[in-house]
């Protein structure tokens, strides 16, 4: 850095402080107004009974007490657990497809893109495509089942099956995402280590487990992050495919919150916010873990 000389202005002398502030300001301001402060506002709104227009009444923790006895909250929470657990299947499934496609045969690039492209479709389109796929009369699923003599199944009409049907639809793009992460990761795997493993007689599963997977760790981490976040954010598919039904059996917290706060059943902003807070706290466990992990990497990189 140039030493400060008397004829420099205040701005010039402090440019290393002023420049980053000026560059950060617009983005930071936007982010604080629209993302950071709403989080805190939601916490406070959750302590009120408010229809979004009139007077908001402070009711303390009553919204949370009501949640404890709300049957639909229990169903939604349980469905969130199903989503979380089953959505993680996208990771091994993506790895499997990536291994299948990691070859150099003519046209393989096109195959990779075509396997990936469900991820580019909007969840709305995925939801529509799958709800038509499941249709009892016109749907392809039942046409295929019919070939094997199995009776028609109304996947989305059956309270016991509907959630699984929606999760399966969600797994389609999510698996594609994990696949592309692993394909990129496999490209960077050190060929010398593979050769060394081969010389030591490692093959197939053992090679995958002991030599390849450790090198794919960064890919696995990102796959884990995006899959967990995706599972807890599930909303579009449910809204499009069943709209929470049948009999509220496919609701998850994100959907229940929307329904309570902003639908024809009444505008209960406070109660909705309480649900959002619970969802946020669940997510916070994961966010905390991800950030801790990234912070750790950042520290290592600095040394």
């Amino acid at each position: 850095m140039t030493p400060a000389t008397p004829d420099q202005t205040w701005v010039q002398r402090n440019r290393m402080t002023i420049t980053p502030i000026l560059f950060l300001l617009p983005g930071l301001l936007f982010f604080i107004v629209y993302v950071i402060s709403p989080i805190f506002q939601s916490f406070s709104i959750s302590l009120y009974e408010w229809d979004g227009l009139g007077q908001a009444d402070y009711i303390g923790l009553d919204n949370y007490r009501e949640l404890m006895t709300d049957r639909s909250f229990e169903v939604s929470l349980w469905n969130n657990v199903k989503w979380l657990v089953l959505y993680l299947l996208a990771i091994p499934a993506g790895l499997f497809i990536a291994l299948f496609l990691n070859q150099t045969v003519p046209g393989i690039r096109l195959y990779k893109s075509l396997f990936f492209f469900p991820f580019v479709l909007s969840q709305v389109v995925v939801g529509l495509v799958f709800s038509w796929f499941y249709l009892p009369r016109e749907g392809l699923l039942n046409a295929v089942l019919g070939l094997f003599g199995a009776g028609p199944v109304n996947v989305l009409g059956d309270p016991g099956l509907a959630t699984y049907g929606i999760i399966a639809a969600g797994l389609w793009p999510q698996t594609a995402y994990c696949m592309i992460l692993y394909l990129t990761g496999l490209n960077a795997v050190n060929p010398e280590q593979i050769e060394a493993g081969r010389l030591d007689g490692a093959k197939g599963w053992r090679m995958l487990w002991h030599v390849v997977l450790p090198q794919l760790k960064p890919a696995t981490f990102i796959a884990f992050v995006v899959t967990i976040i995706g599972a807890l954010r599930s909303f579009d598919l449910i809204s499009i495919m069943t709209n929470g039904g049948p009999f509220g059996s496919t609701r998850v917290l994100s959907f229940l919150m929307f329904e309570k706060a902003l639908s024809e059943y009444g505008f209960r902003m406070g109660y909705g916010s309480a649900i959002a807070v619970v969802l946020f706290l669940i997510m916070l466990i994961f966010i905390g873990y991800f950030l801790w992990q990234m912070w750790h990497d950042e520290r290592v990189a600095r040394r």
Partner: protein
């Protein structure tokens, strides 16, 4: 390379692989292929129960023509364009700046601000919903494209900052130091030294944000309601209630809604994938 290259395996294994490849692809895309088939069938096929046989006639132009000329679909598509493009420009511009500030300068709170951007990017939308909707209503921006654009820019800035900052970190720092020794002003370093090197990152983020915003549904239904401002993801539900149970038209409609991001992906594949892996997996 893992698994063992197919060329080194026996002939039967190679043939099996080559036949399985297209079969697996067809199986993978089956639900979508079904919708494509639906979208070129005539209505009479559905009333006659001919769902999976050869279409009795190919009505591609007729079906897609009706989507474009007898519904609000073109309007929704235009809304999507006018929401997506400004968001991409805004979010990428803001994050070039934040990324530059966080990637180049050392100051107290640098890492803290960076992690705030990352954390905000992971939160559930529902925790933002009530206050953001309230803010949008009170500024008179409810049911306008501007209201939606402003929120999208703010939210995407989180992800874009993460990406840009890491990208700038990987640039050779000597370049900046050399420029400083020459006495180049800081903003000129940003404009003439760093920005030209950020082109690949800008391309990757633009494609990614384009897809994210085009495909957004939640904020579209929270912040807009009519065909005046709603993007195509939200508009498709009213489209479907206009043509209820006419599967040939609904299929054509959803294919039309899906095409722009798909085209974007196929045109800019390399950038797209570089962006998705967050640059962490090289």
């Amino acid at each position: 390379m893992f698994p063992t290259p197919i060329q080194k395996r026996s002939r039967p294994v190679q043939i099996t692989y080559q036949t399985f490849l297209p079969l697996a692809l067809i199986l993978w895309l089956l639900p979508l292929l079904a919708v494509m088939l639906f979208s070129i069938r005539p209505l009479s096929d559905f009333t006659n129960g001919n769902y999976w046989g050869v279409p009795s006639s190919f009505e591609m132009f007729h079906n897609y023509g009706r989507v474009f000329f007898e519904s609000d679909m073109p309007r929704y598509l235009m809304n999507s364009v006018f929401i997506t493009v400004p968001t991409v420009i805004g979010a990428v511009a803001l994050s070039c700046m934040t990324g530059f500030a966080l990637g180049i300068y050392r100051f107290r709170g640098n890492l803290l601000i960076f992690f705030m951007f990352i954390a905000g990017n992971f939160v559930p939308f529902q925790i933002l919903m009530v206050p953001v909707r309230d803010l949008t209503v009170s500024t008179g921006l409810y049911d306008t494209k501007t209201g939606l654009i402003l929120f999208h820019i703010a939210f995407q800035t989180g992800f874009c900052t993460l990406f840009m900052r890491n990208f700038i970190r990987a640039l050779p720092y000597e370049l900046i130091e050399a420029a400083r020794v020459e006495g180049v002003a800081e903003w000129r370093i940003f404009w003439f030294v760093v920005l030209p090197l950020m082109r690949p990152a800008i391309a990757a983020l633009s494609v990614l944000v384009f897809t994210f915003i085009w495909n957004d549904y939640f904020w579209a239904i929270v912040l807009t309601q009519g065909s005046g401002a709603q993007p195509v993801t939200a508009g498709i539900t009213s489209f479907n209630s206009q043509f209820v149970a006419q599967y040939h038209l609904m299929s054509a409609g959803s294919i039309v809604a899906a095409i722009p991001p798909v085209a974007m992906f196929f045109a800019m594949q390399r950038h797209f994938i570089a962006g998705l892996t967050l640059g962490a997996v090289k």
